[in-house]
């Protein structure tokens, strides 16, 4: 993933799958993604607030943990791609890809207030 290439990364995002049925331990499907907080803050209003709110996520030593539903996970990663690249990943351009994946990306974009992914 080319957005991981950069040396600019200063934080990790710990992406966890939220089990909707039971609020159990989030052991399953945990992934850490190095990111640049500046890029995130610049592109998403919610992530910006998250980083600078002065709550847990502002602790630069720890990874930012973000919980997503299972089907949101890929969409979130696509969003990260979009935040860096400014365009959709080639995979989503493939006509074979389910259009619902694009829709999910848009939903996630709306949730995190990424202006160019919103209405």
């Amino acid at each position: 993933r080319f957005y991981k290439r950069g040396e600019v990364c200063d934080r990790n995002i710990r992406l966890k799958i939220l089990d909707e049925s039971k609020e159990g331990p989030e052991a399953a499907g945990c992934e850490e993604i190095p990111v640049s907080s500046i890029v995130l803050a610049a592109k998403s209003l919610v992530l910006q607030k998250m980083i600078f709110a002065g709550m847990q996520e502002s602790d630069k030593g720890a990874p930012m943990s973000i919980k997503v539903t299972a089907e949101e996970k890929e969409a979130f990663k696509e969003m990260l791609h979009f935040l860096y690249a400014g365009s959709l990943s080639p995979r989503l351009h493939d006509p074979a890809t389910d259009v619902r994946e694009v829709v999910r990306l848009l939903v996630v974009g709306d949730k995190f207030e990424v202006p160019s992914l919103m209405g």
Partner: protein
């Protein structure tokens, strides 16, 4: 499960499942958020997970629990703020304001976080439902719970006003704190600032300055008072800069201006020994500037100053022009006027910022009082005469222009410009004929100025005089050359100036018998002149000439510069040692008044008494006998013997000039009437009067009664007729 999601409304479909799955979801989630809000207020935000809170709020809104979220937030925050209100209220004395400020800053910070967490709600639910956004809601709640809290409200206001009062009375206060608190009012909205703070603040300000103005005015003079007022005003402006909303400045200064200046204007300007009049008389530029700047701020302030200045100017001006002492010396009289004008010009420039309205007031005042004295035109002309005769010697060209410009300025004030013209003509004639004008350039420059001011008509005759002088010079040169050629040398050198009748002010019929030797020369010139200019008529104006005589006395020889009349008299003494008044008159045929005056100047003036009169006395009588004064001495070789005559006109002369002026006005008025009637055809009496006055006011102010007479005369001569139905209407007869 997302695989079964329909293609439309993707967003909502999957979450519907969740709602069904977890009925307690909303309550649980809200509980999390509510606890978080409390934690935030307790400064424990760093332990919270933004992501979790945001996600919770996000989901609540998605699950249609936006309303619950919003209501919950309102209640929680209200409770929280009520607690805060209790804490603030409990603060003792001075710490009250600090506590309030502290809590306010806290609240702002907390509110910021809460808003960030609820960002999704702000964006969707609040917008869709037209609710108050979170931030504003927080401010409103603060306003109601704290600022308008029954126990805090009055205490807060009193504390603030006390602080301002303290500062006004010279104490140092914590301006930063003040600034924060007033800023709070502004942040809570303009109306809160205006109603809860600014209005009571302005009222208190008015009370404060009302009292202070009362006290100042009873203890200070005008200068001090204005100084204090200015200081206060600057303090208040500074106060606004330090800790009030910028918009308050104009209101605050208005209050101070009203209380300190507006309500006491009359009292201030009329203060004895220190008010406006005293400042004007003592050239207190700085004080006047201060007064101007302060009074400018209040309505009718400048008008008050201007009115008093005008009445003062008119009063002093009136004294100046009607003071009989002053009228003895016209030059001094005009100089005083110029000085006065200079003084006020400078004053308006330096203190009143060259305010146009003040300049107008100055001009109208001058116009008012200059015309109070009917002799002003004459005096101004005499002033010019004096300046052009001697006053401008050794003065640079620019200065000359300066003086002339000033004179023109006075001239502009004159209503009776034609009277000035009359005198100016006389004086100019004297200057030209006696060759006493110092600078031709200055003369011409003034004519040009008059021309620009009053038009060609006004100066055409004056210019004609200059032309005559020039032609005469050429003629004389030709004449003298011819005399030399003809070997017609005489020890009398004759200088003739040929004056065009009409251009020059001539006194008719002033005939005198010239001595034969002169007459001979005159006839030669006459023949010479008429030979080149046929069809003209020359008549000798003996009353306007001068002569240089060489006289031998017992101890010395002198050259005497005398008038033509005096020359006639003195030449009689070439053949006689003593002559009686009657003999002199018979020989010279000089008019009685002139003869007496000339004899007086020859016999009665110390140092100039080339004749001796018997009996000795100041005045010349018809029985007097005159002797040649052989013992005459004077250390000067060249002696000018003036004619005893007031520089100013004597009373009868004045009457005569007046009459001439009135006579000259008649055709002008008639011409104006005809001009007007020709274009209007039909006009009523009052309108004619006003139009004629308007047309002629650049020259003089015609008297309505005179205009009426002219109209009647025009009716007689059938230029006009009265309307048959309406007697007040006049009709133009072509």
């Amino acid at each position: 499960m997302s695989a079964s999601k329909p293609k439309k409304s993707f967003k909502i479909e999957p979450f519907k499942h969740k709602v069904e799955m977890d009925p307690d979801y909303a309550n649980n989630t809200w509980k999390v958020l509510e606890d978080a809000i409390h934690e935030i207020y307790n400064h424990n935000a760093s332990g919270l997970s933004f992501e979790e809170l945001y996600r919770s709020a996000y989901n609540m809104v998605l699950h249609k629990y936006g309303n619950k979220l919003y209501e919950g937030l309102t209640t929680t925050m209200t409770n929280q703020l009520q607690k805060v209100a209790g804490q603030i209220d409990a603060a003792q004395g001075d710490t009250f304001l600090e506590e309030l400020n502290l809590k306010w800053l806290d609240h702002n910070k907390s509110l910021q976080m809460i808003r960030d967490i609820l960002m999704y709600m702000d964006r969707t639910y609040v917008t869709n439902q037209n609710k108050v956004p979170v931030h504003e809601l927080g401010l409103n709640l603060w306003r109601d719970a704290i600022v308008r809290n029954g126990r805090i409200r009055d205490r807060l206001l009193k504390t603030l006003l006390d602080l301002v009062h303290k500062e006004r009375t010279g104490e140092v206060i914590n301006r930063g704190l003040m600034r924060n608190v007033t800023k709070m009012f502004v942040d809570l909205g303009q109306t809160v600032y205006l109603e809860d703070f600014e209005k009571p603040f302005l009222d208190a300000t008015a009370d404060f300055y009302k009292a202070e103005a009362q006290q100042f005015i009873s203890t200070s003079d005008c200068t001090d008072y204005l100084r204090k007022a200015e200081k206060r005003l600057n303090e208040e402006i500074e106060r606004v800069a330090h800790y009030l909303d910028q918009k308050t400045e104009s209101k605050l200064t208005t209050v101070v201006e009203r209380e300190m200046i507006g309500n006491h204007m009359k009292l201030l300007v009329e203060m004895e020994n220190s008010g406006l009049v005293s400042m004007l008389t003592n050239d207190k530029y700085e004080d006047l500037a201060r007064m101007y700047n302060l009074f400018r701020r209040v309505p009718t302030g400048l008008q008050t100053v201007r009115d008093l200045m005008t009445s003062h100017l008119r009063e002093t001006g009136k004294q100046l022009v009607t003071d009989p002492e002053r009228q003895r010396d016209p030059v001094e009289f005009v100089q005083r006027l110029l000085d006065e004008k200079d003084k006020y010009d400078r004053l308006i420039a330096q203190s009143f910022g060259n305010d146009k309205t003040f300049q107008n007031a100055l001009n109208s005042s001058f116009e008012f009082f200059i015309n109070l004295n009917t002799r002003s035109p004459e005096f101004i002309s005499l002033f010019v005469d004096d300046k052009l005769k001697k006053g401008l010697k050794g003065v640079s060209e620019e200065d000359v222009e300066g003086v002339l410009d000033k004179v023109m300025m006075l001239f502009r004030y004159l209503q009776e410009k034609d009277v000035f013209e009359k005198y100016y003509k006389q004086h100019l004639a004297k200057r030209l004929l006696s060759g006493r004008t110092v600078s031709d350039d200055a003369e011409r420059s003034l004519i040009v100025k008059l021309k620009t001011e009053c038009g060609y008509q006004f100066t055409s005759k004056l210019e004609g005089m200059f032309t005559d002088m020039k032609t005469s010079k050429d003629t004389m040169a030709a004449f003298q050359q011819k005399m030399v050629e003809e070997g017609n040398d005489s020890d009398i050198s004759l200088q003739v100036q040929v004056l065009t009748t009409g251009s020059w002010p001539t006194q008719p019929g002033a005939k005198a018998t010239l001595p034969p030797e002169i007459l001979e020369q005159c006839d030669k010139f006459k023949n010479f002149y008429l030979s080149t200019h046929t069809g003209r008529r020359l008549s000798w104006q003996t009353n306007m000439g001068t002569a240089d005589l060489r006289a031998t006395f017992a101890h010395s020889r002198h050259e005497l510069n005398v008038s033509t009349y005096q020359m006639c008299i003195l030449l009689l003494f070439n053949n006689a040692d003593a002559l009686s008044y009657q003999e002199i008159q018979a020989a010279t045929e000089i008019p009685v008044a002139d003869l007496k005056r000339n004899l007086q100047s020859l016999a009665c003036v110390k140092g100039r008494n080339v004749l001796r009169k018997e009996p000795v006395g100041k005045d010349v009588d018809e029985d007097d006998v005159f002797h040649f004064n052989d013992k005459f001495t004077n250390k000067l070789h060249k002696i000018k013997i003036g004619t005893v005559s007031a520089q100013k006109e004597s009373e009868p002369e004045k009457q005569e000039t007046r009459q001439k002026v009135e006579e000259d006005r008649k055709p002008q008025i008639e011409a104006a009437i005809v001009r007007i009637m020709k274009s209007r055809r039909l006009l009523d009496h009052n309108n004619i009067i006003s139009e004629v006055t308007k047309q002629l006011q650049s020259r003089f102010l015609p008297n309505p009664a005179v205009i009426k007479k002219r109209i009647e005369s025009l009716i007689e001569r059938e230029f006009l007729e009265r309307d048959k139905n309406d007697r007040r209407l006049y009709r133009y007869l072509a």
